[in-house]
């Protein structure tokens, strides 16, 4: 069966049943015709009606279809698995469409899950068989060793690799005079060779047992090119850099706002009181922002108060002070301290246990840090006062 990019045309049609999505096919009543030329091609009729699917391989002319796709087998497979750009194939004439093209571009992706070729699994035997080809004579100067492979479990077996005079030979069975013998499960052997598990870790965790010359086991790895799964393309290397720049910050409170932090240290809330309008400002400021007069009187508020506006954050934003993502949800309600004038509520944290219960108007109390230094972290959060 002819394959393109490791996939046959029939594979794509044969998997249509399992890739069919009923929920995407609601209201679709269409017959798709496929006329695929070239080796492995043919004609297919795909009927979608009443959320049902019928796939048939047919002979003869295609007639009475909603849309007919006319292309060659390689392009068809390439476009289906994303190796060939559909737009380019269409504009260059490699794909011809007769009928409602919207059915192919818009409706088809809703009806079918994307086709993904089944992964070809490497076996221990594939890896052993390719050793001679992967041997690097330039690395084996002066090396004379016999490596035994005792692979247990599914797909296992016993093999011996003989490295001498810059040549490599692989024989079945374990030689009696191995320099080193590696014993492990065949699956572990495959994973090691595919780079899925780390050699040192596999050895220290006991997945790999080494008998004989440990040093030889280590050198042997360098004698062979890395094993690659046949037909698999090497993943393209892409560069992505992570960095955590930080901006140092320093804020001097001055004597008036400093009163706020002095208060936190003493488990108290201080506000300045405007001599003109009587407003209690927190944190304390030198000037009343409304009346533009100097405030020299300081009053104590709270420490208990009322929740006024509930703000619960579900978006996982980084904490600007550490760069770490905060745990969500977290509460940032507004609180009005007892004795504060109107509109002087302020936002602060909420005890996580109260997130579900907090409602506007509820009484709240502050929870203080054990050790207080005159900083915003002295006040941990508020919680429901009950």
């Amino acid at each position: 069966m002819a394959e393109y990019f490791g996939v046959a045309v029939e594979d794509i049609f044969n998997t249509m049943e399992e890739r069919f999505r009923k929920e995407g096919a609601g209201g679709v009543d269409a017959i798709f015709g496929y006329d695929i030329s070239g080796e492995g091609g043919g004609k297919w009729k795909v009927t979608v009606k009443d959320e049902n699917l019928k796939v048939e391989k047919i002979e003869g002319d295609l007639e009475g279809y909603s849309v007919i796709l006319d292309t060659d087998a390689e392009t068809f497979v390439g476009v289906t698995i994303g190796k060939v750009d559909a737009g380019e194939a269409f504009s260059s004439g490699r794909i011809k469409v007769d009928g409602d093209i919207g059915l192919l571009t818009n409706v088809l992706p809703q009806i079918f899950a994307k086709y993904t070729p089944p992964a070809k699994e490497a076996t221990a035997k594939d890896i052993i068989d390719s050793m001679v080809d992967r041997f690097r004579p330039e690395k084996a100067e002066g090396v004379d060793m016999t490596i035994g492979y005792d692979l247990t479990g599914d797909g296992g077996g016993k093999w011996t690799a003989l490295v001498k005079d810059q040549t490599c030979k692989v024989e079945e069975g374990l030689a009696s005079d191995c320099t080193v013998t590696l014993q492990m499960d065949a699956k572990v052997f495959v994973d090691l060779n595919l780079g899925l598990i780390d050699g040192t870790a596999a050895f220290t965790s006991g997945q790999v047992k080494i008998e004989g010359d440990m040093g030889a086991a280590a050198t042997s790895a360098a004698l062979f090119e890395k094993f690659k799964v046949a037909g698999a393309e090497e993943a393209e290397e892409l560069i992505s850099l992570k960095c955590l720049p930080s901006v140092d910050q320093r804020f001097a409170t001055g004597p008036v706002m400093g009163k706020w932090f002095e208060g936190l240290k003493e488990k108290k809330f201080y506000a300045t009181k405007c001599p003109k309008c009587g407003r209690t400002q927190i944190p304390p400021r030198e000037i009343c922002a409304n009346c533009r007069v100097r405030c020299t009187e300081c009053v104590e508020l709270g420490p208990k108060g009322t929740a006024t506006f509930i703000d619960i954050v579900y978006y996982a934003s980084p904490d600007p002070l550490t760069g770490e993502v905060r745990e969500t949800p977290y509460g940032g309600p507004f609180f009005m301290l007892d004795g504060a004038t109107e509109e002087e509520s302020f936002a602060h944290g909420l005890n996580p246990k109260d997130l579900e219960r907090i409602k506007p108007g509820m009484r709240i109390r502050p929870v203080w840090a054990e050790e207080r230094t005159g900083s915003y972290t002295d006040l941990l959060y508020f919680e429901i006062d009950d």
């Binding site: 910050q249 002095e262 002070l321």
Partner: protein
């Protein structure tokens, strides 16, 4: 209770550090450019065959005619000429070199656009437009444009 602005008893200093987690993805085109610098010590550009222009750093689309360029790779010379320059005279932790250093726009032979990089090995007073420079690659990779460490006079 009264407070006076002259009373410095309750002055506090709040220290903070704003951390800004960043992830930069070089993209397919950018990755290929950096990998060529890193593994082959080659400077790659992309050519727009329609406009007949060679761009560096490489980009996916031509800025003039919007043609897709990511298949038209060209290898540029490791030498070129300074088309403009400035001297960076302050130090900051995000800067790649210790001040003062020369930050120049360099048009490599084979390219139609200049690109910025550092010029070393010449006194700040003697750098001039038109000067021929060549690339010096870094010994250790950082997977960044700094795998090309700097340029120096030919």
């Amino acid at each position: 209770m009264a407070i006076h602005k002259e009373d410095t008893k309750h002055c506090f200093v709040q220290e903070g550090r704003m951390a800004l987690p960043n992830q930069y993805f070089a993209g397919r085109v950018g990755s290929k450019f950096i990998i060529a610098l890193r593994d082959e010590k080659k400077i790659l550009g992309v050519k727009c065959t329609k406009c007949n222009k060679v761009f560096i750093p490489p980009r996916e689309y031509c800025e003039r005619c919007m043609s897709k360029l990511d298949e038209n790779w060209v290898e540029l010379s490791n030498e070129g000429a300074i088309t403009n320059f400035t001297v960076v005279r302050y130090n900051d932790k995000h800067l790649p070199k210790k001040a003062p250093y020369i930050l120049a726009l360099i048009k490599l032979d084979g390219a139609d656009t200049p690109f910025p990089h550092i010029v070393e090995g010449i006194d700040l007073k003697n750098v001039e437009i038109g000067m021929k420079v060549k690339a010096v690659f870094a010994d250790k990779t950082t997977n960044t444009i700094m795998d090309l460490d700097h340029f120096e006079p030919v």
